[in-house]
Amino acid sequence: MRIQILAFAGLREIVGGAERTLEVPDGETAGRAWDALAREFPRLAEIERSIRLARNGAFVERDAALRDGDVLAIMPPFGGG
């Protein structure tokens, strides 16, 4: 199945763009989709502990299941204010 990745701030710079599609096995979790990206971009692995994930506009943990067409946002620590 195919999901859409939204990357923000420093993560966007590492993966080279705000949006990309990622081909993952059916039933993949958010965390394993992140792992697949981190294999492609090893610099992501260095900051894995501090990232947050969101599925279709809502925060999720790594074990959240993905479906075809889902939007997975990957977010570094926030800096608003």
Binding site: L6, F8, A9, G10, S50, R52, A54, G57, A58, F59, A73, M75, P76, P77, F78, G79, G80, G81
Partner: protein, 142 residues
Amino acid sequence: MKYEITREPLRLDDLIAAVQTEACGAVVAFLGVVRELGDGDQPVDGLSYEAYPELALTEMRAIGAQASRKFGDARVAIAHRIGDLGIGEASVAVAVAAAHRGVAFDACEHAIDELKRRVPIWKKEHFRSGAARWRPNAVPGT
């Protein structure tokens, strides 16, 4: 009440108008502004902000609703600017109206603290030296 992510300069009057009612005896307004010294007290030319607007607005609304529950009658509005900001420009504005000032001050502080902790917005510092770096907020307790 009003929650906004915008590229335009922030207008505190609009936020105050969105929260004030005839029942309110106090309005507290907060502006976060870009200052000249960034990380390590190095001078900056400015900051650039980006957001995940959909999720940021969801979180901002939740912060307002939480403040209203936690602080009784507080009415909260929050706006955050994105894009490139120069020194002295406002990046975030919070307005809180309540019957009495104690609640309004407390709810305003709560709202800005929560925004920094849980709203997906990021800032990049553009140092006068030419370097640039994403700057996360300090996490309490670390």
